[in-house]
C-alpha cells in the first residue's frame, strides 16, 4: 500500500438551494423577523421551513494514494466540483472530515487572479501567487512559462488586448508549471484547444511520475482513460463505483447510454401525424445517436400518420447547439396515407467538429403545420478532431485532408531556363 495522499471519511456538504445566488439584504432579514409571529400562527402542522436543501455530497469516503492520478466522473451536479472545493479548502464540509497530506494546488479555473488591465508579465506573477507559487519560484520559471504560452511578443501588453486563445494559453502555461504535491484539477484542462490540452496533460503525466498526486475531473472520457489509473464515479453526491479506470468507465458509459435511450418515444396519438423518434442506422459504441467515424451515414426519422396527408412538405435541418443551421433541405408534394413511415437520409459523411448537434424536422400539409420537432436526444459527434488545435482556427468542419508541398513545375522550369 503506497502512502496515502488524500483520505476522506463520510464527507458531506449540504447546500441550501439557491444559496450561491443569495445576497442578503438587511431588509429581508427585518421583514422575516417581522413576519415570524404571523407565520407561526399560520402554520398548519407542517414544518415551517419552506427552503429546500440539497446534499451536494453525502457519505463520501475515499482514499487516494500518493502519486496516483485519479479521475472523477459523473453527471452535472453529481458533486464532483464540490468534492474538489472541499479538498482544496475553498468551502467547508457540513459533516465528516478529510486529511490531505502535502501541499495542495487547486486548478478550478484558468487565470484566477488575472486582471485585464495588467500585462501578461504582471498577470503571470499575480496568477502564480494566487495559485500558491512563491515569487522566487515564478521568477525562476518565468521564461519557461512565457515560451510555453507562446506569447513572447505580447508579454508586456495588457491582457485585455489578448485574443481568447492567447489568454487561455497564458493561463494554461502558468497552471502547467505548478509543482504541488497534490493537484486538484476541475474540467479546466478540457476546454480550449487540443494541442495545448495535450501539452498540459503531458506535463501532468510527468508530474505524476514524479510522485505527485492528481485528482482530475473531466467530462472527456478519452482524457481520463489516457491519464488515470483509477476512477471514482459520483452520482447524486455519493460514490457509486470506484476502481480501475477501464472498469468504472465501462459501467459509467453504459449507464449514460441507457439513460439517453429511455429518454424519448413521442406519443403519436390524437394528431394528424407526428415524428416519433430518430436514430442512426449504425450505432457506435451501442449508441444510436452518436457518430464516431467518417463513413457514410444513414439517419432515420420515424413518422406516424393517423389521417391522410395531402400536398405535404417535409423539411429537415441540422443545427449546432447555438442554433446555427448547418445543413437543411425539404421535400415537397408528399402524400401519406395512415401508417408508420421511416424517413431516411443517406449522407456520404458528416465531417463536423466533435460535440453535440440536433436535428430539426417538420411536416406541413395544405392546411398548415402538422408537426415540428427539435429532435431529442442530440446527435453527438465523437470523431477524433483533425483540424487546427486551437478552436479559434478550427472552423466548424472536422474535415480530413491531405496536404503536401511540391515545386510548382512551370514556374521552376521557367526559372531554370532563365538560369
Amino acid at each position: 500500500m503506497p502512502h496515502i495522499a488524500i483520505e476522506t471519511k463520510n464527507l458531506g456538504k449540504l447546500y441550501q438551494l439557491g444559496e450561491r445566488e443569495r445576497y442578503y439584504a438587511l431588509r429581508d432579514l427585518l421583514t422575516k423577523a417581522a413576519l415570524t409571529p404571523f407565520r407561526l400562527l399560520m402554520r398548519k402542522g407542517k414544518s415551517p421551513d419552506v427552503r429546500r436543501y440539497l446534499w451536494a455530497l453525502k457519505n463520501v469516503s475515499i482514499q487516494i494514494g500518493q502519486g496516483q492520478i485519479v479521475g472523477i466522473v459523473g453527471r452535472n451536479g453529481a458533486g464532483k466540483s464540490t468534492l474538489l472545493k472541499i479538498l482544496s479548502r475553498i468551502t467547508r464540509p457540513t459533516e465528516g472530515e478529510a486529511r490531505v497530506y502535502g501541499r495542495v494546488a487547486s486548478l478550478l479555473e484558468l487565470g484566477t487572479g488575472f486582471h485585464y488591465e495588467l500585462t501578461g508579465r504582471e498577470n503571470i506573477f499575480m496568477n502564480g501567487a494566487v495559485l500558491g507559487m512563491k515569487k522566487a519560484e515564478i521568477e525562476r520559471k518565468f521564461d519557461e512559462i512565457v515560451a510555453f504560452a507562446e506569447v513572447e511578443k505580447f508579454i508586456d501588453t495588457p491582457t485585455k488586448h489578448y485574443s481568447t486563445g492567447m489568454y487561455m494559453r497564458l493561463a494554461f502555461a502558468v497552471a502547467a508549471h505548478l509543482e504541488p504535491e497534490i493537484l486538484l484539477v476541475d474540467e479546466v484542462l478540457t476546454v480550449g484547444d487540443l494541442a495545448f490540452q495535450k501539452k498540459c496533460l503531458g506535463k501532468m503525466g510527468t508530474v505524476a511520475h514524479q510522485g505527485r498526486t492528481v485528482l482530475f475531473v473531466s467530462h472527456q472520457m478519452n482524457q481520463i482513460r489516457r491519464l488515470c489509473e483509477k476512477c471514482i464515479w459520483l452520482e447524486r453526491g455519493q460514490v457509486l463505483k470506484e476502481g480501475p479506470t477501464a472498469e468504472v468507465l465501462a459501467d459509467y458509459e453504459a449507464a449514460m447510454a441507457a439513460a439517453s435511450e429511455e429518454l424519448i418515444e413521442r406519443d403519436g396519438a390524437g394528431v394528424k401525424a407526428r415524428f416519433l423518434r430518430w436514430e442512426l442506422e449504425k450505432p457506435s459504441n451501442g449508441d444510436r445517436h452518436m457518430l464516431a467515424d467518417f463513413e457514410p451515414v444513414v439517419v432515420k426519422f420515424l413518422l406516424r400518420v393517423n389521417r391522410p396527408i395531402k400536398m405535404g412538405v417535409h423539411g429537415i435541418g441540422l443545427h449546432d447547439v447555438d442554433g446555427r443551421m448547418l445543413w437543411g433541405t425539404a421535400a415537397t408534394n408528399l402524400e401519406f396515407s395512415p401508417g408508420d413511415y421511416e424517413l431516411c437520409y443517406e449522407l456520404p459523411m458528416l465531417p463536423l467538429k466533435p460535440g453535440p448537434y440536433y436535428w430539426h424536422v417538420s411536416l406541413y400539409d395544405h392546411e398548415g403545420e402538422v408537426d415540428e420537432w427539435h429532435c431529442i436526444p442530440n446527435l453527438v459527434l465523437a470523431t477524433e478532431p483533425v483540424t487546427h488545435f486551437w478552436d479559434d482556427f478550427a472552423g466548424i468542419l472536422n474535415l480530413s485532408y491531405r496536404f503536401q508541398i511540391s515545386p510548382e513545375r512551370r514556374y521552376s522550369q521557367e526559372t531554370q531556363r532563365e538560369a
Binding site: 502512502h3 496515502i4 447546500y15 444559496e19 450561491r20 443569495r22 445576497y23 442578503y24 439584504a25 438587511l26 431588509r27 472545493k85 472541499i86 479538498l87 482544496s88 479548502r89 475553498i90 468551502t91 467547508r92 464540509p93 457540513t94 459533516e95 465528516g96 472530515e97 478529510a98 486529511r99 490531505v100 497530506y101 502535502g102 495542495v104 487547486s106 478550478l108 479555473e109 484566477t112 487572479g113 486582471h115 488591465e117 495588467l118 504582471e122 506573477f125 499575480m126 501567487a129 494566487v130 495559485l131 500558491g132 512563491k134 515569487k135
Partner: protein
C-alpha cells in the same frame, strides 16, 4: 518496503467549521507573498488609464484643504490651535483621506475578489489588508506635499515628528479593524456598500478634521475619544505641528477602542470567512 504509516506525515485536517476558530497565523506567514502581490496589484491597477496617475493622491487632500480653508478657515474663522488654518486642516486631511480610502477599499475587498475566493483557498484577511497597506503609498505622496507647505509657512521641524509612525500605525489599524468588520458584513449584506459612503461622510464631521477637538466641551471629550480617528487626528497634529495637547487620555481611549474593534472584527471575520465561498 517503507513501513512508515502515513499517519506520521504532516497533514491538513478539513472539518466542518466550528463556531469560533482561530486565525491560522502560520498559514498567513507562509502565504505572506500573496499579500505583497495583492498590494502590488492594487497599486498597479489604481491609476492605470488615468492621466495624472498618482497625482490623484495629492489632488484629493489638497483640494479638500483649499475648500476647508476657504469655508471653515477664512469665512467661519474656525480656531486652529495657533497654526495657519491650511496647515492645520491638511495635517488632519492626510490621515483622514488615507483612512476613508482604505476603509472604502477594505469594505469591497471580498466582494470584488469573489472569483478568487470561489476558486482558491488563501488567508482571506489579506483582502481587506491590501487596500489598507496600499493606501500608505498615497499617504506618503501627499505627505511630501505637506512638507512643501510646511516649508512655505516656515513651520519648524520638531522632535515630536519622530512619533508620527506610531500614529500612522494607529490610523492603519483603525482602518483595518473597521475594514474587516465591514468587509465581512458586505459579503452577507448588500446594504453595507450603500451605507459606507454615508458612514464615511458622517464620520468626517464626527472627527476633528476641520476643527480642533478642543472645540468639544471638556466633559464630552472622553466620549469623543471613543472615535478612534479622534486620537489619530490629534496625534498627527501634535506630532507634525505641535498643535494641541500631547497625546493624553483621549488618545489612549482611541487605542483601546481600536483594539476592541480589531479583536471583535478578527473573530467575526474568521466566523464569516468559512462561508465566504458559499455566499459571495
Amino acid at each position: 518496503m517503507k513501513s512508515g504509516s502515513s499517519l506520521q506525515l504532516p497533514f491538513v485536517l478539513i472539518r466542518p467549521s466550528s463556531r469560533w476558530s482561530r486565525h491560522d497565523l502560520q498559514e498567513m506567514w507562509e502565504h505572506r507573498e500573496l499579500l505583497y502581490f495583492f498590494v502590488w496589484r492594487d497599486l498597479k491597477i489604481r491609476y492605470k488609464r488615468t492621466v495624472i496617475g498618482a497625482g490623484w493622491a495629492v489632488i484629493q487632500p489638497f483640494f479638500a484643504m483649499v475648500v476647508f480653508s476657504v469655508f471653515f478657515g477664512a469665512l467661519a474663522k474656525m480656531p486652529s490651535e495657533g497654526v495657519p488654518y491650511p496647515l492645520f486642516s491638511f495635517a488632519g486631511l492626510l490621515p483622514w483621506m488615507y483612512f476613508a480610502n482604505a476603509l472604502a477599499g477594505a469594505t469591497t475587498a471580498a466582494v470584488q475578489n469573489e472569483r478568487i475566493i470561489s476558486k482558491v483557498h488563501f488567508p482571506k484577511l489579506f483582502l481587506p489588508a491590501a487596500p489598507v497597506t496600499a493606501g500608505l503609498v498615497d499617504l506618503g505622496v501627499s505627505f511630501l506635499v505637506f512638507m512643501g507647505m510646511m516649508i512655505y509657512y516656515g513651520a519648524p521641524l520638531r522632535m515630536s515628528m519622530l512619533a508620527l509612525p506610531l500614529f500612522v500605525l494607529l490610523a492603519a489599524l483603525t482602518a483595518f479593524s473597521c475594514g474587516i468588520w465591514l468587509c465581512a458584513l458586505n459579503v452577507l449584506f448588500q446594504d453595507v456598500r450603500y451605507a459606507v459612503p454615508f458612514l464615511i461622510q458622517f464620520w468626517l464631521f464626527a472627527s476633528p478634521v476641520a476643527y480642533p477637538s478642543s472645540l468639544v466641551p471638556e466633559k464630552w471629550r472622553m466620549l469623543y475619544g471613543l472615535n478612534p480617528m479622534a486620537g489619530v487626528l490629534e496625534g498627527f497634529r501634535w506630532a507634525l505641528l505641535g498643535a494641541g495637547q500631547p497625546p493624553g487620555s483621549m488618545v489612549f481611549l482611541s487605542i483601546l477602542m481600536v483594539l476592541v474593534v480589531l479583536g471583535s472584527g478578527l473573530l467575526y471575520f474568521r466566523h464569516v470567512e468559512d462561508i465566504f465561498a458559499d455566499v459571495v
